[in-house]
């Protein structure tokens, strides 16, 4: 450990860390909203839509994020229309968001399955429109059940952002590699700083998630 190198690296690592936080935010929005759309679609759309969608989510969840990111990155670079718009950051946010949307849809599905049958029957009995039933009755009830799972996915997602450096997102690992590439030193300092920053954010989040889980478990008996 060299204090000069630490003070050199700290601003670089921090800069990369901010990129990771931004990516987590945007990918999180995509994952939470798209996941809900997928879950509701699989629940209520006709079979020709749900079966391909189901297999799409299966495929995404069972193949590596790294390869998906590389695949999509190469793919979008070949479509001239969107080439300029799809920077590594945007591509990364979309790939990560879609990847975790497929996980979130499972959490939402479990939440939907947990809604008592009587609620569905009541909705049918008063012939409530589908959209109102979802917005006013079903989603609020399922949200309470699947919030812990969704929170855990968000934390997991945050820790997978560094993978996207493979497609040129300039985050922590990329910053550290540039530094170590120029000075042939600083591996220990750089990667240790990176690890400590992750720990500083994700440990408190994980603890509060566990508290929330316990509280909800108690509230539901």
């Amino acid at each position: 450990m060299d204090s000069q190198r630490i003070s050199d690296l700290l601003p670089l690592v921090w800069e990369g860390f901010v990129v990771i936080l931004q990516l987590t935010f945007w990918a999180g929005i995509i994952a939470l909203s798209l996941g809900l759309v997928i879950a509701i679609t699989i629940r209520s759309a006709p079979k020709p839509v749900t079966v391909p969608l189901f297999w799409f989510t299966e495929f995404i969840r069972n193949t590596p994020l790294l390869v998906q990111a590389l695949f999509v990155y190469i793919f979008v670079s070949r479509i001239e229309l969107i080439e300029g718009f799809m920077t590594p950051f945007v591509t990364g946010a979309i790939v990560l968001g879609v990847h975790y949307a497929c996980y979130c849809s499972e959490a939402y599905r479990a939440g939907i399955d947990g809604i008592p049958k009587g609620q569905w029957e009541a909705i049918t009995a008063i012939s409530l429109p589908k959209s109102r039933a979802w917005i006013d009755i079903l989603i609020p009830q399922m949200m309470r059940r699947c919030t812990p799972a969704l929170g855990n996915y968000m934390i997991a997602m945050f820790k997978e952002v560094p993978i996207l450096f493979a497609i040129g997102v300039f985050e922590m690992i990329a910053q550290i590699q540039r530094y170590t590439g120029l000075s042939f030193a600083g591996h220990v300092e750089g990667y240790t700083l990176a690890g400590l920053l992750f720990l500083a954010i994700s440990y408190p989040l994980a603890v509060s998630m566990r508290k929330l889980e316990n509280r909800l478990a108690r509230a539901h008996g």
Partner: protein, 239 residues
């Protein structure tokens, strides 16, 4: 036709890196399983000091990113300790084992805690030692409960082995990079091929774990129940 030809042409080049991916997966699975039991028993221990040490290790590896751990072990640890990995795969296996061992230890702890307390009382009543109780009574009953969440973890581990390509190990992902860059080959197409290979491997792994669960349940005289395994459940689950 051209597409078909190129697929057939490219496939043999993936045999060797496929072996590397499988080797990393199998070694890391064993490593993380052993670690999961050690840490799981430690975090569920009666003694505060043992629990504290176990918890610290688990939270440390769960709290930091796998990518960072991988790079730390591959590039920072050799500098710090003054050695080099003669066999680079070991650094990848070490990182994956530590990370997934920490996650899986929670599965072990949960399953052991879920064994009915009467079983603990009975094994204390017949004067079994801690290790006898664990080995003969508790773990055989907890084991079938562990397998479904372990299966999810194992598939996740398989996917994560692709990260070792970043530290210079020639696995499937790394090979797709080089094959795709060759003249006359197509990078996008090569990534597509290995995505399918990973999907098949994940499917086989999950199927194997279901067999294991089936057998584990039968071994303790419990009828196998149809589990809703989301990882590989057929299209019949829809609706």
């Amino acid at each position: 036709m051209d597409l078909l030809f190129r697929t057939i042409e490219a496939l043999p080049t993936y045999l060797e890196p496929l072996g590397v991916t499988l080797l990393v997966t199998v070694l890391s699975l064993f490593g993380s399983l052993i670690l999961a039991f050690v840490l799981g028993l430690a975090t569920g221990s009666r003694f505060l000091s043992v629990r504290f040490v176990g918890r610290t290790i688990v939270e440390f590896f769960r709290g930091t990113s796998l990518v960072v751990q991988l790079f730390w072990i591959a590039f920072a640890m050799p500098v710090l300790l003054g050695f080099s990995f003669d066999w680079l795969i070991l650094s990848g296996v070490l990182a994956l084992s530590l990370n997934f061992g920490a996650y899986a230890s929670e599965v072990v702890r949960g399953a052991i805690a879920a064994v009915p307390s009467g079983q603990y009382e009975a094994s204390t009543a017949i004067n079994l030692s801690y290790w006898q109780r664990m080995r003969l009574v508790i773990i055989p009953q907890a084991w079938p409960e562990m397998i479904p969440p372990m299966s999810t973890q194992a598939v996740h581990l398989l996917k994560s082995t692709s990260l070792v390509s970043m530290i210079g190990i020639v696995d499937l992902t790394a090979r797709a990079n080089t094959v795709g860059a060759r003249p006359g080959q197509d990078l996008l197409f090569q990534y597509g091929i290995i995505l399918v290979i990973y999907f098949i491997l994940a499917w086989l792994l999950a199927a194997g774990m279901r067999q294991l669960e089936h057998r584990a349940k039968r071994n303790i005289g419990r009828a196998p129940v149809a589990t809703k395994n989301t990882a590989t459940a057929g299209a019949g689950v829809v609706n």
